[in-house]
């Protein structure tokens, strides 16, 4: 039923949404918690237009924000926004991330929920640390149809993964983003630029990168650890399944020998016992976590290589300037 053609080929974001995102992440980054919010807009052909957004209040240990309150807040907000003529269609959600650490179960869950109810929804991942270093880091993702159908079935065993042909690269796909401003906003931007032509505090061409690199490496190490753990679990399972299989064969052999002996002596054969009652078959561990860990590791690796490209560019430039004199 799912078409092979992507439903959404492009995402168009209004400048206002970008600024609101930045402001929310900036103001709410009290701790390492993520900030989340809802995207509003409409679908025009193959482009998803995002025209507005609003943030979710952060859940702390004190406040008990549960499902009901979240929905209430959402409903209230959307009703009020409708009064002032803002698009009130849900088209996705956004989340902040540190150096790309968003590939986890919660992300899958939420995106799956969104995508199953609204087919065109996307998730915007914004990286505040990277943006502060000078490059606006905003990416839009959707789950691939393969991932959707596998998640639907809720069976994460090896067989289902093989059947779908899913690899850690195919879990989600990136959708290109374009930014569009209305003419009035463009005028405002020109005026702002006139007032403040030179960015004072932002270091676009900063040469120091070691702290950021260290952080990224550390994150990569922890996700590689996770991946090895999952692989270890799987290998253990393999071994115990093989052992179990062996003992089952042995048991069956003993049974047939026993039955033959009894038949010889003229006694009734032993009843067929269900082997499964004696030794329960071992459950295969869900492969979804391993898949996620692999996806996370590869996301980190990509980030590291793009970061190093950027830094290498800056360093070579500094070198060129030095060689001149």
């Amino acid at each position: 039923m799912s078409s092979t053609e992507p439903v959404v080929k492009q995402v168009q974001i209004g400048g206002l949404v970008v600024l609101k995102l930045i402001k929310h992440c900036e103001e709410d980054s009290g701790g390492p918690e993520l900030v989340q919010g809802v995207l509003l807009g409409l679908v025009v052909g193959e482009t998803l237009e995002i025209t507005n957004c609003f943030p979710f209040p952060r859940t702390t240990e004190n406040s008990d924000f549960d499902e009901v309150q979240y929905n209430e807040y959402q409903m209230d907000m959307m009703r009020s926004l409708r009064h002032v003529n803002i698009d009130h269609l849900h088209v996705g959600w956004y989340q902040s991330s540190n150096h790309g650490n968003f590939v986890n179960r919660a992300f899958l869950d939420s995106q799956f929920l969104y995508q199953s109810s609204i087919e065109e929804s996307v998730v915007l991942i914004y990286d505040p640390l990277k943006t502060a270093q000078g490059c606006l880091s905003l990416k839009a993702y959707r789950l691939t149809p393969k991932m959707m159908s596998m998640y639907d079935s809720k069976h994460f065993t090896l067989e289902t993964i093989k059947a779908e042909g899913l690899s850690f690269n195919d879990m989600y796909e990136e959708v290109p983003i374009n930014i569009k401003n209305s003419p009035l906003s463009n005028m405002l931007l020109l005026k702002l630029k006139k007032e403040n032509p030179v960015p004072e505090k932002v270091e676009y061409l900063n040469l120091s990168h070691s702290s950021s690199l260290e952080r990224q490496l550390r994150l990569m190490m922890s996700s590689v650890d996770e991946l090895t753990q999952e692989s270890g679990k799987f290998v253990q399972y393999q071994r115990s399944a093989a052992k179990q299989h062996q003992s089952k064969l042995l048991y069956q052999q003993k049974r047939t020998v026993e039955n033959a002996a009894r038949a010889q002596r003229g006694e009734p054969p032993l009843p067929e016992e269900d082997f499964n009652k004696i030794l329960r078959p071992i459950q295969q561990p869900a492969r979804i976590d391993a898949l996620l860990a692999a996806g996370q590791v590869s996301a980190y690796c990509d980030k590291v290589s793009s970061f190093s490209t950027q830094s290498l560019g800056r360093i070579f430039m500094a070198q060129a300037m030095d060689n001149k004199d």
Partner: protein, 278 residues
């Protein structure tokens, strides 16, 4: 109502004001809304805003206070530090209705700031002015309200500055879509800006030497500071530093690639294994 108060505005506020102006009802000539932010000892920082539906005619103005309170509550839940610091209106002048609305806001906040955003483009650009109110008149008799102008300054978070620079349309054509560049293109962009800035400075210096531009001592001092900030290092030291940095980065890239291929291999191995369960 102290004098010498400054009003700092974040660009996101101006953008949402423009957005609500663009989405106004057919017959409304201007939009009105609340401003949220924080109050300091000598300045007011406006960080958020929302539009409030209102109707205006020659004689009266109707303002949905319930809506305003509701929205403020919702916003409060996300950021408890923001309070109502004033209100905004698009358009040009301050009308009599503004006085009434300002009175309402004086009840919500101590000395509300009134921001007027000029969307009619009187001066061929969007202007924004801030006003504080002061009572005029003889005490004891009927008092009126006067709006005194207050300087408004645009303030940025670091990330906001990056965002603003990115969403600005570099070309002249209207309705152009701006795509987000890769990191490398970003560095290229920044180098070009740096180059233009350096060219501007060197042109100015040449002009001053040739006598065609007036000598300005302040600029001279800035230039002196600029030249002094270039660190003085030995050639070898500089080379060493660069090389070690380059080595670090190359090692990181290599590591990233190795890990990636390892993960792919791992997956291949596991996926082609078979488990007998019969």
């Amino acid at each position: 109502m102290a004098d010498g108060r400054k009003v700092k505005v974040h660009p996101v506020v101006l953008f949402s004001i423009i957005d609500s102006y663009e989405r106004r009802k057919e017959d409304a000539k201007r939009v009105i809304g609340s401003l949220l932010g924080t109050v300091d000892a000598n300045s007011v920082t406006i960080t958020n805003s929302f539009c409030v539906p209102h109707t205006e005619s020659e004689d009266e103005v109707a303002f949905d206070m319930e809506f305003a309170r509701n929205m403020f509550d919702l916003h409060r839940r996300v950021n408890p530090r923001e309070v109502i610091v004033g209100w905004y209106a698009t358009g040009q002048d301050i009308t009599e209705h503004s006085v009434l609305i300002h009175e309402y806001y004086s009840r919500e906040s101590k000395s509300p700031v009134h921001l007027v955003v000029d969307t009619d483009l009187k001066d061929t650009e969007i202007g924004f002015k801030g006003f504080l109110s002061a009572t005029v008149g003889v005490p004891g008799k009927t008092q009126g309200m006067m709006f005194t102008p207050v300087p408004v300054v645009v303030e940025y978070y670091n990330a906001e500055r990056v965002g603003i620079d990115r969403i600005r349309n570099r070309t002249q054509s209207r309705g152009n879509l701006i795509s987000l560049p890769t990191e490398f293109e970003n560095v290229l962009d920044m180098t070009k800006t740096l180059q233009t800035m350096l060219e501007g400075v060197s042109d100015h210096v040449n002009n001053v030497l040739a006598g065609s531009a007036p000598v300005d001592q302040k600029i001279g001092r800035y230039l002196m500071d600029l030249v002094c900030t270039v660190p003085h290092m030995e050639e070898d030291e500089f080379d060493d530093m660069l090389n070690s940095n380059i080595n670090d980065l190359l090692m990181m890239r290599y590591l990233g690639n190795v890990v990636k291929s390892q993960v792919a291999l791992n997956e291949k191995l596991i996926n082609t294994s078979t488990i007998q369960t019969t």
